[in-house]
Amino acid sequence: MSERVRGYALFATVALLLLVVAPLALPAFRLDELAKYLCLAIAALGIGLAWGQGGMLTLGQGVFFGLGGYAMGMYLKLHDAGGDLPDFMVWSGVERLPALWQPFGNPVVALAAVVLVPVAVAVLLGALVFRRRVRGAYFAILSQALAAAFVILLVGQQGLTGGTNGLTNFYDFFGRDPEAESTQRTMYFVVAGVLGVLYLLARQLVGSRFGRLLVAVRDGEDRVRFLGYDPALVKTVTFAISAGMAGLAGALFVPVVGIISPSLLGVVPSLELVVAVAVGGRYALAGAILGAVVMNYAKTSFSEEWAGGWLYLQGALFILVMTLAPKGAVGLYQQARDALARRRGASAAAVEKPGVAVKEEVPA
């Protein structure tokens, strides 16, 4: 079986599990939780692209998640208010709809903004930062500070953003009640579908010439520049794509969970996403998704059983993963598979092509 066929078989199995088995086996609210994890997995997929493939450790992905989520939330709030001011503005003492909000009354504009605003911000930031060759740790810290500053700004502009409360209490999601079980079930399929499509697109991207260039930039940016390519452009484009994914994830998160608030976007949630990607396996796109789902599931179930223990476990898990298995769960699986293949000996002489995963050590 070739690598590609096996890849698609795996994809189909997972799709079958998510789209058939899970909805049948899980009670409604667990399915809703799974939908939430899948939303986060979309954002994680973007991180997998930017970090795993592109070497840009982005610790501020919550910003883009938030921009998408707020774009969606603003539309829903305006729609619910039906011409009046949204409820939180009334008690914040805002008297007229701020200009920033006005375009979001239109669903088409809002839905476009879900992707376009994060992409625009990422392009701007990327153009500023990558062109000046700010990279590696500098970029990581800057993106983290961006998340911190973004949250402070959101919280501070209460009349505009709802402050710490964020936007919540939506009644009408495109003609349906977002809290109704049937809506949540439909949303689950939408989220799973979007994730699947984005995953396939991201795979295509990674397999393309652009993808190879991206990996080359990750592994030797200056060398790529000497070859006549523009690494800043490659990085900016990738960063923008990952931001767009995060924005979409945020927008889907709003109807699924029913709230978007600054506590979802800060330094810690952004880091948690990155860590989930690391645990799943950063060099494989599937690893990013796997990590996001498993880590968030573990977080939920652990906090139900043993609240304080989760921090110990989470901390210990990173330490172990980073020391023993820097390629994450997917890396471990590949190691095991390779070891098995070696034991089977030279009979399977065909040397397998490395898939999306990269084998060599990566200097950061």
Binding site: L16, T164, N165, D177
Partner: protein, 405 residues
């Protein structure tokens, strides 16, 4: 080749999904709370994360109240069983755990929440599912959900009396300091309206981000403005930095009292008694409040948690459980609509004194109390309203507040 296989798998994957969307409900709703011999209630506070400090103590007080109810024979002949969940200081988690408690555990009521953000996140869940939330913390008012009972103070039971006290003491020039979130901003709006109507002057209004620790600039602004008093709505750890830096700037409680509404017995120790001694606070209950019910409450709580102090939100959580139990007994069922109806007018003797549920807005009548922080870290009452104040979350009975909501 690639194209065909892709489409093939994709159609295979999507087909069952399309079939499935049609057959929704797996029959999750309907069943009564608890099975056979018990009635389940949920306790939903942050056991982890930044809010755990405050919320764990409230959860403990609520658990103690449930045990007291059980020791007295339970309700409707059944024992009350607790299902506890962790809100993890994260608002969406609160919403999802509330959903779990309602849909999976089918609890009769949930006691929980601390921050306004967590309440706002849970509100739609309770309203859509027609379930009951008992919220035990003082808050910014302007809310009255038919599916929430508010056992903490609303603004006219805490902030307005705090202002009355300052006015009585002759404070004319006030400086407002708060953390940058909903409660302080709303509180300060009310304070400004009050000041305008009562001949007080607001010298400044400053907000700092949550978790802010550098207060030298703000202290400089406050000192330069020379106010008669400061009204402080800072939250959590910021209070520690603010009071430490205020004290080292040489400000004393005598010349510039700082009235706080978020500092209870629990927080005093972390701030350092020496840094805050003599400053006034506004609440409805102190550990030192004199009543037979409070002696018993403090004794029982300290028997469980050695060396612990009791504070206003803990007491409000404790009250919530007893008020709910009384309402269920009166209604003869745990059915939410019946309990809501029965709760109206229920009146119990609780640690803070007589507490009566207002049927109209589902808040409770509470006595307002101003206290001063003592060198031993406890708070001594120096002023109180003559009788329990009728809750008025929208301040409709105050003419000066007409432009607010």
């Amino acid at each position: 080749m690639r194209k065909r296989s892709l489409r093939y798998w994709a159609s295979l994957a999507v087909l069952p999904a399309v079939l499935l969307t049609g057959c929704g409900d797996s029959g999750d709703s309907g069943a009564a709370a608890g099975d056979g011999n018990t009635i389940k209630v949920g306790i939903l506070h942050s056991l982890s994360g930044t809010m755990a400090i405050s919320e764990v103590t409230v959860a403990n007080a609520e658990k103690m109240a449930v045990e007291e109810v059980n020791a007295a024979g339970g309700v409707l002949g059944k024992k009350v069983e607790i299902v506890q969940e962790d809100g993890a200081s994260d608002w969406p988690t609160f919403a999802q755990k509330a959903q779990k408690l309602i849909k999976k555990d089918k609890v009769a009521a949930v006691f929980g929440g601390w921050t306004s953000a967590s309440r706002k996140a849970m509100l739609p869940v309770f309203e859509r599912n027609r379930a009951l939330l008992w919220y035990p913390v003082q808050y910014e008012g302007l809310e009255s959900s038919p599916y929430i009972f508010y056992t903490g103070a609303t603004t006219n039971q805490q902030i307005v009396p705090g202002l009355d006290y300052l006015k009585e003491k002759g404070a004319k020039r006030i400086f407002l300091v708060g953390s940058d979130y909903v409660f302080p901003r709303t509180a300060n709006k009310i304070i400004k309206a009050y000041a305008a109507a009562n001949g007080m002057q607001i010298l400044g209004e400053e907000y700092t981000p949550l978790g802010h620790t550098e207060y030298s600039t703000l202290v400089n602004k406050v000192v330069a403005a020379k106010p008669d008093a400061v009204f402080n709505t800072l939250n959590g750890d910021s209070n520690v930095s603010f009071f430490k830096q205020l004290k080292s700037a040489g400000v004393t409680a005598d010349e510039m009292p700082v009235m706080s509404v978020s500092i209870a017995e629990e927080e005093v120790k972390g701030i350092g008694v020496a840094n805050i001694v003599g400053h006034p606070v506004a609440w409805n209950y102190y550990q030192t409040t004199e009543s037979a019910a409070n002696d018993e409450f403090v004794r029982a709580f300290q028997a469980r948690h050695r060396g612990a102090v009791t504070s206003d939100p803990m007491e409000a959580g404790y009250n919530a459980v007893h008020l709910w139990a009384a309402a269920v007994k009166k209604a003869g069922t745990t059915d939410v609509e019946a309990v809501k109806k029965a709760a109206a007018g229920i009146s119990l003797d609780l640690p803070e004194g007589k507490v009566t549920v207002d049927g109209g807005n589902q808040h409770v009548y509470k006595t307002a109390r101003i206290g001063v922080i003592q060198p031993d870290g406890l708070i001594k009452e120096v002023w109180s309203s003559d009788e329990p104040i009728k809750p008025d979350p929208y301040l409709k009975t105050y003419p000066w507040a007409s432009g607010l909501s």
